[in-house]
């Protein structure tokens, strides 16, 4: 009974407010600003010393990285759209949104839809300063879209299509429809040792370690920072 009365009172109050707003002409208030308020999330990263201990970067490197990060994302976190936008600036000829999506998922280790500076540093620390084993692990994680420990042909095909999309249309030789598929076949031929149609992490690491090209190219980006 009291709940009913409370509800009635609330309704009457709302109606009175509506009448008041009708009379004063402020019926259509901007609700856009409210949405904006809720959307901006502020995130401050861990202390510099803590990050230095957790990652393999020096203080100066962390400073440079953070300045760039904060410049592009003043709120402290990157959401997927910003990420895609940033990544697409590097590949003007093609469409890099799919690959950026996979990359985002690889960086967003706690799967909360936003990449904070810590996630960013964690990923970069592996990629730039990690051992070859760690790097290969990261790459496997990238390819394994559903994170179940196996790379199936479909997952690999998705990744391959995303990579080929980044090339765009104007390529030489002309990009054929089945180029990604053929590439996936090559990949599986190389990696899938027991021919069971999926690639596990051990098969992957083992096959990569046997391939000198891959080993060499893993060291390619050591001096990026």
């Amino acid at each position: 009974m009291s709940g009913c009365r409370k509800r009635c009172k609330r309704e009457i109050l709302k109606f009175a407010q509506y009448l008041l707003r009708l009379l004063t002409g402020s019926l259509h208030t901007d609700s856009v600003e409210d949405e904006l308020e809720m959307a901006t999330v502020r995130h401050r990263p861990e202390a510099l010393e803590l990050l230095e201990a957790q990652s393999k970067f020096t203080k100066k490197e962390l400073q440079i990285l953070y300045r760039g990060f904060k410049n592009e994302c003043p709120s402290g976190v990157v959401n997927e759209d910003t990420f895609k936008e940033i990544y697409s600036q590097f590949f003007p000829q093609g469409d890099s949104t799919t690959y950026a999506h996979f990359l985002f998922n690889a960086f967003d280790t706690d799967h909360n839809g936003a990449v904070s500076f810590e996630d960013f540093i964690r990923g970069l620390s592996i990629l730039l300063r990690g051992t070859v084993q760690e790097k290969l692990n990261w790459a496997f994680n990238l390819y394994d879209i559903n994170k179940d420990g196996y790379i199936t042909k479909e997952e690999m095909l998705d990744i391959m299509k995303a990579i080929y999309d980044m090339m765009g249309k104007c390529t030489y030789p002309v990009l054929k429809e089945d180029a990604p598929r053929q590439h996936v076949e090559t990949f599986f031929q190389k990696m899938d040792k027991n021919k069971d149609g999926v690639v596990t992490i051990d098969e992957f690491i083992e096959s990569c370690q046997k391939d000198e090209n891959i080993m060499r190219s893993m060291q390619l980006f050591e001096n990026v920072i």
């Binding site: 100066k60 440079i64 990285l65 300045r67 760039g68 990060f69 410049n71 592009e72 940033i86 990544y87 600036q89 590097f90 590949f91 003007p92 000829q93 990359l103 690889a106 960013f120 990923g123 970069l124 990629l127 730039l128 790097k135 990261w138 790459a139 990238l142 390819y143 990744i159 391959m160 990579i163 080929y164 980044m166 090339m167 765009g168 249309k169 104007c170 390529t171 030489y172 030789p173 002309v174 990009l175 054929k176 180029a179 590439h183 090559t186 990949f187 990696m191 992957f204 990569c208 000198e212 090209n213 891959i214 060499r216 190219s217 893993m218 390619l220 980006f221 001096n223 990026v224 920072i225």
Partner: protein
Amino acid sequence: MAAGVAAWLPFARAAAIGWMPVANCPMPLAPTDKNKRQDELIVLNVSGRRFETWRTTLERYPDTLLGSTEKEFFFNEDTKEYFFDRDPEVFRCVLNFYRTGKLHYPRYECISAYDDELAFYGILPEIIGDCCYEEYKDRKRENAERLQDDLDSENNQESMPSLSFRQTMWRAFENPHTSTMALVFYYVTGFFIAVSVITNVVETVPCGTVPGSKELPCGERYSVAFFCLDTACVMIFTVEYLLRLFAAPSRYRFIRSVMSIIDVVAIMPYYIGLVMTNNEDVSGAFVTLRVFRVFRIFKFSRHSQGLRILGYTLKSCASELGFLLFSLTMAIIIFATVMFYAEKGSSASKFTSIPASFWYTIVTMTTLGYGDMVPKTIAGKIFGSICSLSGVLVIALPVPVIVSNFSRIYHQNQRADKRRAQKKARLARIRVAKTGSSNAYLHSKRNGLLNEALELMGTPEEAHVGKTTSLIESQHHHLLHCLEKTTNHEFIDEQMYEQNCLESSMQNYPSTRSPSLSSHQGLTTTCCSRRSKKTTHLPNSNLPATRLRSMQELSTIHIQGSEQPSLTTSRSSLNLKADDGLRPNCKTSQITTAIISIPTPPALTPEGESRPPPASPGPNTNIPAIASNVVKVSAL
């Protein structure tokens, strides 16, 4: 590539590790930072106000003053800072551009001062951000119009010797202030328009009585005089119209213009009247034609700017007026119907039909209230009062709304058109930026190859042919190169792509294989001979002529250099400098992209060369197969 995003380049390059296990070819080497300085703060002293920023911030835009070595000219050794004797307010915006990648235009700044500053710092105004671009363009347009007006008035005062007679006449007609003749003409025509209008009016005034008949209007009493006046006026108007027609730069457009239609309508009744004077049947129509003589008053609009603006106002406000008319019509019909049925009962009522009630409704709603039609029944009176009350609302409310609507709609239309035009321009700018950055990559690939080629020939002073790209750019290009290697395809620009498509669709292939597949296979077989199913393929029937030509250019450079066949092996290892364990297949496959070599002397043809397979050359080579140590130039 935007400046702020340059900070993310290390991330993009690190993420490229994701491509490595998938790639089948060896990756190119990363560019090294030859002079890796620690990032330092530099001080910019602009007229006493000191700004400090990182050196790398300024180097994001190497083609501006602050980003290039041009700023060294302003370096002050004593104070170890860069001194600029310019406006510090505008410099704030310029420096923010380096920091954020967006150039803003402050509203309080004068447009020409701002433009001067931008020109000094080597920044193109086209990169002003979208938030400020509209304002900037507006101000720029106003300024340009002001300059143009100044120029025009200057021109008008000077004598333009090279105008033809026709052009001078047209100018005289359009701007009466240009010469005294034009002014005289202007006033004479104005006078005659006034005379014509006044005669039309006075014609109908009753002018006293002729004894023996009723009162006559002046027109009939002094018909000869009026006829002479009318003739004189029409003569003048006709002459004027013909002169304008002769002088008009585009006669077709002149005939279609509103003013000329008014002219024609003003003089036609006279001529039609001349033609059919004595025909009694059509004299009624002739009288009607006289009404059109009143249109001569519209000829005044050439003389009055205000009339023209009013006409334009009504024209642009037409939809609002139309809506007002429509809503009025609705209300009129409703109330007329109601009044008719309400008054139907009363005897001798003036409301004989619904259309007859229209008159009452209109008079009541516009609060005129003539009183010639009045409701007599009670219901009629009630509805009549409702009608007049609502009339006030319906009439009085939309009028100010129309006025303000007009002003709002006018400005809004202008803004919408501007925005639409700017949207196209904005999309074009984005497209240009994208193609610019991809073209930069292709261009630098060519330059890079050129550089390598020249370096190899032992002429170090000519080694740096192209512009030295910044480190960021070279790293970005290395990233794109890695992508090319991963997918075994190369970036080319649009024209080449279209040519390729055309050529591949036009050529017929004697071999059973399709061309692109074979070339694709060619690439993969030669690059990554892991494929066991390689057969003979057509190496160069798919090469478009332009590629051959560009290869010609590059290979001619080699022909001029000294030929050292022993260099082939060292050159093929150039790309894989740091590698010890070369894959034997890749080495002997003789095709590693981005490597140029020299054709052996006897087979020295300046045309490009083929991609010789390890086996015998394909059956359809139209270029003689040069010796096997020639490798293909991958330059585009």
